[in-house]
Amino acid sequence: MLEAMIARPGRVMSKEQLAAQVFGLDEEASSDAIEIYVHRLRKKLEGGGVKIVTFRGLGYLLEALSD
């Protein structure tokens, strides 16, 4: 999932796009599952150089912290 977001730096990824990257097109992925993944990923990235920004209704953006 992180790979998917790194692959498109500075761009907003919708839940559907993330689900297609993570699970492949065959599997039925609920948006809840993506939310859980994002939550876990965000915890793991804490203290790192990047963070995930949420846009309600739109998707997620991986942002590099400047400091």
């Binding site: 907003v12 846009f55 209704g57 739109l58």
Partner: protein, 467 residues
């Protein structure tokens, strides 16, 4: 000139049909009355012949004899078409004189009421030709003979038919001449009546392309007034359109001239300076001003594009579009920019909402609304993009908003509500024009607790259609 679109041809065809119908009916009735006239005339002479024969009846040795006077059969001599047959029967019904197989009156033939005689007229067949027969009953009261004798005189139909035919032909000829002259008169009358139309056509055709003076209705028939009024209204609309466009060009040149003059002054000032640092700041400012000019030029182009887009919609070129999809794509594209400015951008769109429209124009509309919202929202603020199932699009921000009394004016071209923005005051004018092209209603509202809510309501009939 007889094609279906010609008024004259249509009128003449209908009239010709009507006249033909009248001609047919009147010919039938003329023939019928000619036959009746012939019958009346010939029946009288037929009865006279029968009476002449009756006068010649005499009795010898208790037997009835007939002395048929030549004059009785000569009545028709002047007419070579007619032939006369006669028959005299005595009181027992036995043949006295004449042709023995002359047919009797059919049962139920009434005696004539036209003449004071016991006479009956009927049509019959004799020797393979149609004959008209009179049967006269003559009472005989002589010694030895007492009863009623019968005299039949028959005449071939030829003469009557010829007379009827002549009468009919005369009638037909008169009617035909009458019909033809009626058609000719109508042709001339229609031509005369259509002349004002031709005059009007010539007057319109003779105009120069920029002559938009209203057409004069003086001297025109009342029936043409609505057409002239409609043409003049169309003229008015064209006139307004031209006025608006030349006004726009004037405004646009004015808007372009001011920043260009500022740019030129700045550059000249920089040229006079000697220090490289001043050159640098001059160039930086010039680049910034050029950006603004580019933005302005782009917006002017957009406005020009809307005209052709609106024409495409009016000509049926609209497509079915999902507003939610459009909002999502644009939201995702602008989210990084919003984030960079410290604004939280959110989308509220639950389901596909279909409207019919022109995709580049709708994209332009949404882009302008979002740009405006992002420009007027301070860092830390929120911008919400909303698509409602009733084909309503909303952009809400929690910036300072626009006071209600200025809501109307913001759609005017080159109007700026505040001076701090970089825009030329064309953004909302573009939005307004796009809404007009889509027949969508745009309204501004006060967001709670503060901020601006722009609502675009598309025609409800075009929404909700799933497919």
């Amino acid at each position: 000139m007889t094609d279906s679109s010609s008024l004259r041809g249509r009128l003449l065809r209908r009239l010709a049909l009507l006249l033909a119908l009248i001609l047919l009916v009147s010919s039938l009735s003329a023939y019928w009355s000619a036959r009746h006239a012939a019958d009346t005339a010939y029946d009288r002479t037929l009865l006279a012949s029968a009476r002449a024969i009756a006068d010649g009846l005499y009795t010898t040795a208790e037997r009835l004899n007939a002395n048929v006077p030549y004059v009785a059969l000569d009545t028709f001599a002047y007419d070579s078409a007619g032939r006369i047959y006669y028959q005299v029967l005595d009181v027992q019904g036995a043949l006295v004189s004449g042709y023995e197989d002359l047919p009797p009156a059919p049962a139920g033939t009434k005696r004539t009421e036209d003449y004071p005689a016991l006479a009956r007229f009927y049509d019959a067949e004799f020797r393979n030709q149609g004959v008209r027969v009179v049967s006269l009953l003559q009472p005989v009261s002589e010694p030895g003979v007492n009863g009623v004798a019968e005299i039949r005189v028959a005449e071939t139909q030829g003469a009557r038919e010829r007379m009827a035919r002549e009468l009919l032909l005369g009638t037909l000829l008169r009617m035909g001449v009458l019909s033809l002259s009626a058609l000719l008169l109508v042709w001339l009358a229609v031509s005369a009546a259509l002349r004002p139309l031709e005059t009007l056509r010539r007057r319109v055709a003779a105009r120069t392309s920029d002559d938009l003076q209203p057409l004069s209705a003086v001297g025109m028939p009342r029936e043409l007034r609505p057409l002239i009024d409609a043409l003049n209204q169309f003229n008015d609309r064209l006139h307004n359109l031209f006025e608006r466009q030349s006004q726009f060009i004037a405004d646009a040149s004015h808007e372009l001239r001011t920043p260009l003059a500022a740019l030129k002054a700045r550059v000249e000032l920089g040229l006079r300076a000697q220090e490289p640092a001043v050159w640098r700041s001059t160039l930086e400012e010039a680049a910034h001003n050029t950006d603004k000019l580019t933005h302005l030029a782009n917006q002017l182009l957009s406005l020009a594009r809307i005209e052709s887009g609106a024409r495409a919609i009016a000509e049926g070129g609209a497509q079915r579009l999902d507003l939610s999809q459009l909002a999502r794509e644009l939201g995702m594209a602008l989210a990084p920019l919003a984030h960079a400015r410290g604004i939280a951008l959110a989308l509220e769109a639950e389901q596909p909402v279909w409207v019919s429209g022109e995709p580049t124009l709708l994209n332009e509309l949404l882009c302008n609304l979002l740009d405006n919202a992002l420009a007027h929202t301070p860092s830390g603020g929120n911008v919400i993009l909303r698509v409602l199932p009733s084909a309503v699009l909303e952009v809400e921000d929690d910036g300072p908003g626009i006071p209600a009394e200025a809501h109307e004016r913001v759609f005017a071209r080159f109007y700026r509500h505040s001076n701090k923005g970089a825009g030329a005051g064309l953004g909302l004018a573009i939005v307004g024009e796009i809404c007009r092209a889509h027949q969508a209603d745009i309204s501004l509202h006060q967001a709670q607790p503060h901020g601006l809510l722009v609502r675009v309501a598309f025609a409800a009939g075009e929404a909700c259609v799933k497919g």
